[in-house]
Subunit: 232 residues, 4 copies
Amino acid sequence: MSFSLGKRLMAEGLGAGLLVATVVGSGIMAERLAGGNVALALLGNTLPTGAILVVLILAFGPISGAHFNPAVSVVMSLRGELPSRECALYIAAQIIGACLGTLAAHGMFELPLIEFGIKARTGPAQWFAEFVATCGLLVTILAISRFRSEAIPVAVGLYITAAYWFTASTSFANPAVTIARALTRSFSGIAPADVPMFAIAQLAGALAGLALMHWLLSPTPAPAATMAAKRS
Amino acid sequence: MSFSLGKRLMAEGLGAGLLVATVVGSGIMAERLAGGNVALALLGNTLPTGAILVVLILAFGPISGAHFNPAVSVVMSLRGELPSRECALYIAAQIIGACLGTLAAHGMFELPLIEFGIKARTGPAQWFAEFVATCGLLVTILAISRFRSEAIPVAVGLYITAAYWFTASTSFANPAVTIARALTRSFSGIAPADVPMFAIAQLAGALAGLALMHWLLSPTPAPAATMAAKRS
Amino acid sequence: MSFSLGKRLMAEGLGAGLLVATVVGSGIMAERLAGGNVALALLGNTLPTGAILVVLILAFGPISGAHFNPAVSVVMSLRGELPSRECALYIAAQIIGACLGTLAAHGMFELPLIEFGIKARTGPAQWFAEFVATCGLLVTILAISRFRSEAIPVAVGLYITAAYWFTASTSFANPAVTIARALTRSFSGIAPADVPMFAIAQLAGALAGLALMHWLLSPTPAPAATMAAKRS
Amino acid sequence: MSFSLGKRLMAEGLGAGLLVATVVGSGIMAERLAGGNVALALLGNTLPTGAILVVLILAFGPISGAHFNPAVSVVMSLRGELPSRECALYIAAQIIGACLGTLAAHGMFELPLIEFGIKARTGPAQWFAEFVATCGLLVTILAISRFRSEAIPVAVGLYITAAYWFTASTSFANPAVTIARALTRSFSGIAPADVPMFAIAQLAGALAGLALMHWLLSPTPAPAATMAAKRS
């Protein structure tokens, strides 16, 4: 079954929007209720995010591929699976959807619809963390879509669940989500000035993941040689 | 395999009852033990609810479809998958089962069997949250039952796990459950006067989800045109 | 593939033992670390128990059926799926394995190998809770093994995860585990005098679940009538 | 599809590295945020570890078998599934990858890249716990890879999730990970002097698991006898 570009863009925008509404909304809820315990707040932010990713990839994967993430769309375009013009439109839909997701979260929690983030997230350690997080995300996607593509929704949800905790930056790993999180002053926000370096680190990590998996998953002459040896 | 209407109604009532017993019971347990930390109480309310949903949909889905939710039954009826008379009986069974679920939870926790809720849950932000939560629930159900119906139990469980945290209202998203939660004064209760607007917002959200997915999942002329072009 | 009775009994004993080692061990660990917050201790007791159940049923289900629970074995025997002599041996293996599980947990946590439980768990509300919990467990097992047996491990793990929180008794739901938990004074213990009523309530709940599902899942004359009508 | 030894070693190293980066990184994050509540810190350490194991085994299992663990590689070698020379190289790759994982976690969290662990983890109870944990891990792997190999990633993730809590040692269960955790002073560290006994207990547990499952899963003469009886 194939879907028109308009529907695929809607799926990308809707998915990115629901993802960001979950990240921002659960961050607000968790911080309000956690009584100052940040580990508990992060737990209340992590579980919903991992859970909704599984749902959204199950729901929209068959329509648009369920990227929701410019770093993923760029990699898919480089692999020849998404024409560059569509890639640009995917990214636009992801960013617009993601920003509307922040607005929706603010609407549900009675906050001003747009406020700029004030949480500083910068410095080499944070950038390295975003590089690692996005590299690992692409390793996950490229390896598992090759071997067991039906496990991709659960795998991506679990990967992000882990990455929230093992990266010092709580693993944004998504330039569209990063932009949308610059529009909130709540738990999951980021200062707008810190967005560009995050996006650059994320794209660099995605490209590193692509290069690594391109080599690791490429056909190897060894088995052929073995077969030839067996034949003789 | 097909089941008689009586058995299907029992499955809907039993499922709604066990769902509400879990929501209300785990809310009581979690609030009692959490020592005043509301994030911890909500966590102890969220995980059991998400878990039991997976179980109940696995168990009763093949019998009755496992709606447990008037908003879902109305949508299925509008899609022509449930005759309107059966839809009305489904809703009655769901409401009766759900209310008995509250009683069962009270019985297990030594509370008066019926008490009316006192927690005010009202205002446009809460209604918008219920609209979003139920719209998202129907998007989840309609998309995933189209593409990968065997993943519906896990997807609905994870969706509600996320929605507890990303909506300011903790995502009731179910008119029968909302009515049953008006019969408890505990953690998960709601003041009876606030029930109608919740139910209206939920139904509106469900219809919005239906409309959105009706368009998004409908056949598209594009591929046919492409095929024709290829043939010529 | 079929396994000798000796191996099946070993699988039942080993599974019950690892289950109880997890219940008791994680209870000790969680209570020690939780700093007096009982919700947090229960969370640290719930998640490992649900997780290990999935693992143990995956591992031993194909060998012995992975009952680990006299209430389940009795029901399977009544359904004619387990000869009564084997049922008695299953129950003996489950009880012995479960008690050794308590010893193993005590050994790992440097506690006296056997101590009798002192936590009073009694009264009609607790018994009703055990009745509901075990009834729900059998509903889960009988319905899902009929429709989607490959989902049984995950379903049972999630059911117990939920039942820890929605029942006032934290859902023992297993006479062998109840006996073994009378041998520890730690978080998950129970006073030995309270064991018999728990076991009776559990068996009653299991039989109620069997009766309910026997009716709900039985063939129905309706479809046959429909077919006949179509033929004419 | 078969992969060259070089690629398989890279998969083992990369997997072990990402696993340790998650264990150590999430330990640092969780301890920093948990405000002194160790149960909460352990929860923030457990969930990411269980989650990433599922992801890594899905991603690298088809390439190298996804051992990431010398105890597993030794058992596979004894079963004749891995030549001893490759086994030695696997172990080297696992140790190197695991140590680089600690470095990566330190880099992301702005800690000195290498520091030696200071947490004493020793004594018979801890060794017994490591024995039990690794024995259970091999029971899980050997039984489930025989019956339902596609469930191995989820089963191992859930097993370790449980074992973190039911063993007094938080279940290292992996000599390569144990060595790498001797290079951090943070939450998940271990004093270098305590590493050898942990590794010995882990290997002994793995061999016990192999022996147990070798007997439990071996073909049994009973069914053959039954068949013969039926034939006559």
